[in-house]
Subunit: 157 residues, 3 copies
Amino acid sequence: MDMIALEEIRRVKFRYLRCLDLKRWDEMAETLTADARARYGTPSYGKALEFDSREAIIEFLRTTVGPGITTVHFAGQPEIEVDGDTARGTWLLQDKVIVPEHRVIIEGAAFYEDTYRRENGAWLISDTGYDRLYESMTPLDDLPGFKLTANRWSTPA
Amino acid sequence: MDMIALEEIRRVKFRYLRCLDLKRWDEMAETLTADARARYGTPSYGKALEFDSREAIIEFLRTTVGPGITTVHFAGQPEIEVDGDTARGTWLLQDKVIVPEHRVIIEGAAFYEDTYRRENGAWLISDTGYDRLYESMTPLDDLPGFKLTANRWSTPA
Amino acid sequence: MDMIALEEIRRVKFRYLRCLDLKRWDEMAETLTADARARYGTPSYGKALEFDSREAIIEFLRTTVGPGITTVHFAGQPEIEVDGDTARGTWLLQDKVIVPEHRVIIEGAAFYEDTYRRENGAWLISDTGYDRLYESMTPLDDLPGFKLTANRWSTPA
């Protein structure tokens, strides 16, 4: 078992996820191969979300996960199989999206199915996607006393 | 420190948890010793849940965590001590159970206390159980706008 | 890459977090250097929470996170860089605090920024702090059917 490869693959995934929640799109691009594919199984957009290049993935996220949206993507339970310079991995994801303007909280869980590729000694994500266990929407109007006491992405009124 | 054993033990636990949420009972059985014990400290069933064999554990889960129940079991923070061909481990668990038919969401957290045994070179779970930090029930009637926008286990009406 | 150091650092962090949720303050002190600093970016106390010694951190937690408060601190996605006998680490934290007496649930997420130091062969936390992605308060009065069916820290009435 190649423990170094496993750690490096976990690290590139953690960096991808951190950059997503911190909206660091340029740094996030460094975690993907140029030909990276992404398939996000969320019903929120009314159509399948499929992208076939690093550029398309980053462009979608940059324009969609804007400053009015707070996201938390927490993935764990990695089961990773390394085969030379490629690898496959499964992860459990729990995510939460808060959209104050639309007064809604979206929560969900899913299993990621990823592939990774080692390029010039560095492991990158070459394919990522997930199937939902569930996804839910809770309108904040159902919780009249709910308060966001901190929000990194709020625009103070 | 036996890093390979630590990784193999994490892997068998992640597989157990993934099979639980995906209701893959036959595959889940492969993560347990034949004499595996389980003690689940949930009050939901009104009595202690204790099982003394792999067969009894899988039979309970197969008949209880049915197709109308969506579960997410997310465990992390492993503290594992290996001693030859046995090991002990503590994990933090966060779990969420959605039962649309009963219009209820159950959430909780607990610390797992497990033991593991190496049989024919493969680490298996020989004892698992947890004590709750908390468990809560939220009736969906309190959230009239709540919607499940995705649910792997829903039966379309 | 020093895999042993990475595992030892993860372990001291997991122990710190477990002791926090189990209110084991004396054991928690063993995870910190004597000169440990902590900065918790929560707005809940109306002022910055900054502490400059192990003693001050433990004293604050011992007196603040009392028996009427149930906490769950779940951290993952460690990105740790070891440099000799010091290290830096980033983690994603999701936390939940239930205060039945005040009928409120506080939830949040944050990125930890820690430093670690190896003293007499043991890795300890020398600096810990986090910036919030978000923090929310939900009054239980908004959820009239909400029930705590288990609570390790409840005082039975």
